[in-house]
């Protein structure tokens, strides 16, 4: 080959190396291509590239030509910087070293893989003042390198050094980018755990969610949370990721505190234990459910001086945890510890509350029993003592008639009170038949049944008040007790208001009076049977019965009172959502309604007139049927005469005594008062 031909070839090789440098991003591929081009184009015996190790102590072979190269790579061939090799010397001096006859080169390193080398060139790979490594080029011929070869190959080495440096920077940038992305992902995970910690109070939900977040965000093999048991003897697994976690939870997996496990140590010593290679860790617990663990981290869960447990995080890779990982996970563990502590405190609070409730319930029952015993004792006692005295009196030669009469009256009074209690106890316990009812009308029926003076009572229904869903018989009983309660408290004015409740789906009715009111300390006790603030003549059963009835209907009752200024009882009952339309066409054509003005009379008249019926108010001799409200029965029945046979008495709470009385007076029937068109149709049908 002529000098000019070789020159052209060298130029071509330089261009190809330059193209490779620009197009090959993988540093290893780039180095290998470079040595191949050098050998192929220049026809050299061998070429190799060495790069400095992290400590700058050795030049390590990274690419080598042919079998010799492969063999040396597999032997991790390296040469000491500044030592007895041309490579080491060129790196140490940052200058090219050229031996045109290696036998004469004092620092040539005789290499058994390259026995035929006669000439060798070692070119440093430098970027500015930094040396990265060196290229070796060897020939079987002595004096093989011309000046042109040397200058071309040094140019090639300089380009290669820049490419290697760029590749390093690129790798470093990628590493930094990955690190930043991972950090962002970890922060997201920490935030997610933080949100859980702030919002989830149930540990059975929070702990599994946390271990799942840790594993998914960090791509770890396994994570688990252990909590220390009550005896402070074991760390018990409370949540574990994946199938392994489930299996260990099912096995009630636990590790002895301070024992031969990282968790046991971390929980007892209250310091994190991190093993980047578990094989060398004395306290590593070899878990058959987690055979692939190579790295493990055990982070204590501490609040102040109190250790609650520990978190384990495991990876299938050695050296898996970065400083960032450890810091983020420990922060996460600290937050988790606070949440566990809060959940424990809440649990203790709930237990204390339940205990308090049990105590209060026991006190209430005990108080109610005491009231009942006291009441029964006091009512029954005069019967026994009076009877004993009367028997003594009857033995006397002269009877003291006045004394005997007084004793008999005492017996009578005691016996009557006991019988009244029987009804008060039995009434609320009767079976209920809830249906839509108009509360204002129930109050009027209650007022009638209790014999309340009409000028005392004002009933003010709101036009939009829905019907309540309740048993009219029981409600008349309950409302009657509330009316009696108001009268007994000395009320001169009683006002009833009915409206839609602030609680959706309920209707509210309030009875307010201007009586003596109820002292605040008594307001909890009034609901107990046999408790009364009104003296010995009262049974103390009325409000207990009200509470029973209203509760049974799914409602609530409460009291508000300012002593000396009256009391208000607020009853809330389920409201009727919708009332179905009904066909009243089968009803008689002419209907007389004998009822007090009010919601019920308005509803009945409207429902009948809407279906084309003729409706009259009061006694109508032409009517086909007369609907008589029970509250007007006593005053109306004597005037009905023959019309009684066409009269239906309507009662919200028919009593056996009244039914008998009305039927004997000649009415057609006594029926439950209808509050919907459907019920009205059934009554008239």
């Amino acid at each position: 080959m002529t000098s000019s031909e070789r020159q052209a070839k060298l130029l071509g090789a330089t261009v190809r190396v330059a193209n490779n440098i620009a197009s090959i991003l993988d540093p290893q591929e780039l180095l290998q291509k470079t040595v191949d081009i050098i050998c192929d184009e220049f026809n050299f015996y061998y070429a190799g590239v060495f790069l400095l190790d992290d400590e700058n102590e050795y030049a390590v072979l990274k690419a080598g030509r042919g079998k010799a190269g492969d063999a040396m790579l597999s032997e991790n061939h390296k040469l000491k910087v500044g030592g007895n090799s041309m490579i080491g010397a060129s790196i140490g001096s940052q200058h090219a070293r050229i031996a045109l006859d290696v036998g004469e080169e004092a620092i040539h390193f005789s290499n058994p893989h390259l026995p035929n080398t006669r000439s060798e060139m070692a070119l440093p790979l430098t970027v500015g003042t930094n040396v990265l490594g060196a290229v070796t080029v060897q020939s079987e011929e002595g004096a093989a390198f011309s000046d042109a070869d040397i200058s071309t190959l040094q140019g090639m080495a300089d380009q290669l050094a820049i490419a290697i440096d760029n590749a390093h920077q690129h790798a470093e940038n990628r590493f930094l980018l990955n690190q930043a992305q991972r950090r962002a992902r970890l922060l997201d995970a920490a935030n997610e755990v933080g949100r859980g910690v702030a919002s989830i109070l149930d540990l059975n939900e929070l702990l599994p969610k946390t271990v799942d977040i840790i594993c998914e965000a960090y791509n770890f093999y396994y994570a688990g949370v252990f909590l220390i048991d009550e005896n402070k003897e074991y760390a018990v697994l409370r949540a574990g990721h994946g199938k392994a976690g489930k299996a260990m939870i099912a096995d009630n997996h636990r590790l002895k505190l301070g024992g031969n496990s990282m968790i046991g140590m971390a929980a007892r010593e209250r310091i994190a234990r991190i093993s980047l290679d578990v094989e060398g860790e004395d306290s590593f617990f070899r878990n058959p459910h987690l055979p692939n663990t190579r790295s493990e981290m055990a982070l204590p869960l501490c609040t102040g001086y109190n250790c609650l447990g520990a978190v384990t995080v495991q990876s299938e890779e050695g050296n898996a945890f970065s400083d960032d990982d450890i810091q983020t996970l420990q922060t996460m563990a600290d937050h988790l510890a606070i949440a566990i502590n809060n959940a424990n405190l809440l649990n203790k609070l709930e237990q204390a509350h339940a205990e308090l409730l049990r105590t209060k319930t026991y006190e209430a029952l005990s108080s109610a029993t005491t009231e009942a015993i006291h009441w029964i004792g006091n009512k029954a006692l005069p019967m026994t003592t009076t009877t004993a005295r009367m028997m003594e009196d009857l033995e006397q030669p002269t009877l003291d008639v006045e004394s005997l009469k007084e004793d008999l009256e005492m017996l009578d009074t005691s016996a009557k009170l006991i019988m009244e209690v029987k009804e008060a106890l039995l009434g609320p316990a009767r079976e209920t038949a809830p249906r839509p009812v108009t509360l204002s009308d129930i109050w009027l029926a209650s007022a009638y049944q209790t014999g309340l003076q009409s000028d005392t009572l004002t009933v003010k229904p709101a036009p939009s008040a829905p019907l309540a869903f309740g048993d009219s018989v029981q409600l008349v009983r309950a409302f009657g007790n509330l009316l009696n309660n108001a009268v007994e408290s000395g009320a001169k004015n009683i006002t009833i208001e009915t409206e839609a409740s602030e609680t959706a789906g309920f209707v509210k009715t309030t009875i307010s009076d201007d009586g003596i009111g109820i002292p605040e300390e008594m307001q909890d006790k009034i609901w107990a049977s046999f408790f009364t603030t009104k003296g010995e003549k009262f049974k103390g059963m009325g409000l207990a019965a009200c509470l029973h009835i209203v509760s049974q209907l799914g409602g609530s009752i409460r009291v508000e009172s300012v002593p000396e200024k009256g009391a208000s009882f607020i009853v809330e009952l389920p409201a009727v959502a919708s009332i179905p339309k009904a066909d009243l066409s089968n009803a008689p054509q002419t209907i007389a309604i004998i009822a007090p003005a009010g919601e019920w009379a308005d509803f009945t008249k409207e429902a009948l007139e809407n279906t084309g019926k003729t409706v009259s108010n009061g006694i109508d001799t032409n009517a086909d049927i007369l609907l008589l409200d029970e509250s007007l029965a006593d005053e109306t029945l004597p005037s009905l005469g023959e019309l009684g046979g066409k009269t239906l008495v309507l009662s919200a709470a028919p009593s056996v005594e009244n039914i008998t009385k009305y039927l004997q007076a000649g009415v057609k029937d006594v029926v439950l008062k209808p509050y919907t068109a459907e019920e009205l149709g059934e009554v008239l049908g």
Binding site: L381, P382, T385, D407
Partner: protein, 129 residues
């Protein structure tokens, strides 16, 4: 004759007991609550015929007029402040060890479970002799 003060809020119980005690020859003053009991006691104490024995129901309206479980013991304390040597019997509808102990601690001579009036008469006679 010995003069008794009977304080009980149950009219029938009060009247029945009063009748029995009157027949046995005692002078019986009655009251239906703590306030009335204290007033009646003070009036007698300042007269020539003070109360010899007070019979105090345990469960009755207290000095505020509110029914209270051990109101009779409050009255007992007040009465013994006026007359530290007063003999008092606490009456109750049922026996209760702790309340009985408390009654004795406050100076009651005896604790009587209401039931048989002759038993009360016997107890009073025993104390007086």
């Amino acid at each position: 004759m010995p003069k008794l003060l009977l304080v009980d809020d149950e009219a029938l119980v009060r009247r029945s007991m009063q009748k029995t005690l009157l027949r046995k020859g005692f002078v019986v003053e009655t009251a239906s609550n703590c306030t009335e009991g204290l007033e009646t006691f003070n009036a007698a104490y300042n007269s020539d015929a003070p109360i010899d024995i007070a019979l105090l129901d345990l469960n009755m309206p207290n000095f505020d007029g509110v029914p209270a479980h051990a109101a009779g013991l409050d009255l007992l304390t007040k009465l013994r402040e006026v007359d530290p040597g007063l003999i008092a019997i606490v009456l109750t509808a049922y026996d209760e060890v702790d309340t009985a102990k408390e009654a004795v601690k406050r100076g009651a001579r005896s604790y009587f479970v209401k039931g048989r009036e002759q038993g009360l008469v016997d107890l009073i006679n025993e104390i007086l002799t």
